[in-house]
């Protein structure tokens, strides 16, 4: 058993570059990132990148879902809708893959990491949609219940 898989290590080495590229384009990731100062944006994007690193190493979809659930709630508190969160996470994943492709061009690690990050992005998009669909079902149920209660009033 290895303590640090090579791809996760390669990703960790690239993280500062990915972070910088994301910070440079943060206003296009989401308008709310454009409005906040760099330090706050750095902290928020770093949290996502750190989690991605852990997910790359573990491949544990359960913990990934849990992270995404919290992230969706946190961004909702900042008035960012589910579609915007999805688009933002996909953009972060795509940028990470792009950096891996650019920085590790020609190496086996570079190709594998690019592919893995692309798959992680696909997994993330899938998981976000599942979470939103579950929330939609929950709220639809709530609405049906309240509407029925309203209709039942004299």
């Amino acid at each position: 058993m290895s303590t640090e898989p090579p791809l996760a290590r390669a990703y960790d080495n690239l993280r500062p570059i990915i972070l910088q590229r994301l910070l440079d384009m943060r206003a296009t990731l989401d308008p709310s990132f454009g409005r906040i100062d760099e330090a706050t944006a750095r902290a928020q994007i770093s949290a996502v990148l750190e989690h991605l690193g852990n997910f790359l190493a573990s491949g544990d979809l359960g913990s990934h879902r849990a992270f995404l659930q919290t992230f969706l709630a946190m961004r909702a508190a900042e008035a960012q809708g589910a579609a915007a969160v999805l688009a933002m996470l996909v953009a972060i994943g795509d940028t990470a893959a792009q950096v891996a492709q650019d920085e590790l061009a020609g190496s086996i690690d570079g190709s594998e990491l690019t592919l893995l990050l692309t798959r992680v992005t696909a997994t993330t998009a899938r998981a976000i949609n599942d979470l939103v669909a579950e929330e939609l079902a929950r709220r639809t149920g709530q609405w049906n219940e309240l509407a029925a209660r309203e209709r039942g009033k004299p």
């Binding site: 058993m1 290895s2 303590t3 640090e4 898989p5 996760a8 949290a47 750190e50 989690h51 852990n54 997910f55 790359l56 190493a57 573990s58 491949g59 544990d60 979809l61 359960g62 913990s63 879902r65 849990a66 992270f67 919290t70 946190m74 508190a77 809708g81 589910a82 579609a83 915007a84 999805l86 688009a87 996909v90 795509d94 190709s111 690019t114 592919l115 893995l116 692309t118 798959r119 992005t121 696909a122 998009a125 899938r126 976000i128 949609n129 599942d130 939103v132 669909a133 579950e134 929330e135 939609l136 079902a137 709220r139 639809t140 709530q142 609405w143 309240l146 509407a147 309203e150 009033k153």
Partner: protein, 617 residues
Amino acid sequence: MTQTASQHGIRVAGDTNVGKVRETNEDSMIVDPVRGLYVVLDGMGGANAGDVASQTARDAIREYVMQYRTTTDPRTLIEAAIQHASATVFNAAQQARERHGMGTTVVGCIVVDEKRAVVAHVGDSRAYLLRNGRVQMLTRDHTIVEELVDKGLLSAEEAERHPYKNVLSRNLGAKPETRVDVTDVELRPGDRLMLCSDGLYGYASAEAIQYLLGSGDAPEHVARDLIDLALRGGGGDNVTTIVIEAPQPPPSSTEVVRTTGAMQWWQRRSRFLQIAKDRGLTKNPIVRGLDPEEALELIASSLCQAVFHDLEKSTGVNVWTFAQNIAGGWFERSGEWAPLRALMDILATAARAVVDDIGVADPKLGFLLSIAVSRALVVGELAIGGLLAERLNRVDANLIKVHAAMQETVDTAQETALEDTGDRFIDNPTVPFLRPDRPVTSPGVSAELIKAIEQTITIARSRTSQRAELVKQILSSLETIAIDATGNFASAVLAAREIYGVRPVDDTGIMPLFDALDQARIITAASVHQITAPDAMRAKVLRALSSAHQRLVGATTGLVLEAVAPYSERLREVQAKTSEMRDQVAKFERKRADLERKYATTIDHSQPWEKRGTTEW
């Protein structure tokens, strides 16, 4: 006669034609890929001397280059070869009377390697370079007119119309020595060099030449098409052209995906459909009621086609449209999420299996396609995500409506209870610092001042729009406050309460009120100047009304603050709570990240990534 050759990835083709008017072809050419030597010559002189001149020069150049190419640098070599040819032609002309005055133009090129060439010329045979779709002329014609233009004695327009525009100032053979222009050319992948005699550019437009050179066709086709072009343009002269193409750059990943990748994907279409069928696509509730083949065609085949077109065009628009149509249609039918997820998973599995197949045969292409197809599937998820978010917003709006309706019921019940007590809103003073008996400096109000104030307000009312009820109400209040002899705040507070009424504490409730207050201030200030009174009295009126306005605004602001006070308090509480929760979330995030890291070091990394986690992939 077409000559084609290829060396070091450089492809060359040359072609020459007598044209439609001349009987003999006085042009010559060298296409010698072994020595990297390419030359076009255009002979001139009566009694068949032109062809002798060009052939003599051609042979002289070839021999010279063969003899000295290993010992001389390319730039010196081609220049010396042309000088040698000039002397040879001159000498030949001297030996026979009928060849006196014969000569030839020349444009030659030594391709050193795939990155460098040297071009030399004498006369009006030309060299062109095509790079990134643009053509540039590398040579400048040696004509008398062109030299006059160079010296600034003729304009370009004048040169174009000049009767001697084709008269050469230099050629090979007129003298034993001639001046040769030599140019170094740095070749880039995909560049095309074209050498030609005036029989080409004299009978074909520059645009047509550029189009053919940039067509992407093989050099032999381009050379032949250029000759045809000149012939179609009249073919009034011999025409010769050589096309030299530097090696094409290796195709980019995007190009590979767009061409080979898309083709390979499409060729495995039936495999994609088979996997989708095996995985149960035809049993999915979304296609219930459809014939299995029809279902496969409608769903799997459509996606396969959408991916193909997106790969081909490097876009995501087709997969986006596909996903939006499928998901939109299903949601419209009030479909559940699970079948849609299952359907998308089946399609994703089939897509990955096809890509894996391609990867077995061609790992590099498989890798590129794997990324491209994964991205296509993400685009599909993005389209579905947009629909889900839209529906979530709609349900949220409905929830808010239901909540608002329920709240209204509660409010009505509370209002009824309040009415029962017999109290009115304005009977309950709620602003402690605005006590009615609070003393303020009384300016004292004389009868003259009262009259002047009334006159001002009357004018102000007449200047106010009929519909501006709130402004009119404020004007009346200002009058009351201004002529209040007690000079305290009571009248202002009462007036403010009347104006304020029951307004929602939001932009639609508060902003019109303050706008009206401001408007009333402006109108009264303007109206003061219209009353018939001495300036001193006008000043007193203005002071009294300004003071009244200040009191009214103060009292109104007090009421607004009072109204929003509970909300502010609640907002502060919520903000504090949110901040506390954020801290907690951040703490848990850190804790979870630590745990994840710890967990990541204990798992078996020899397993494939998707099989490592505790959660089923």
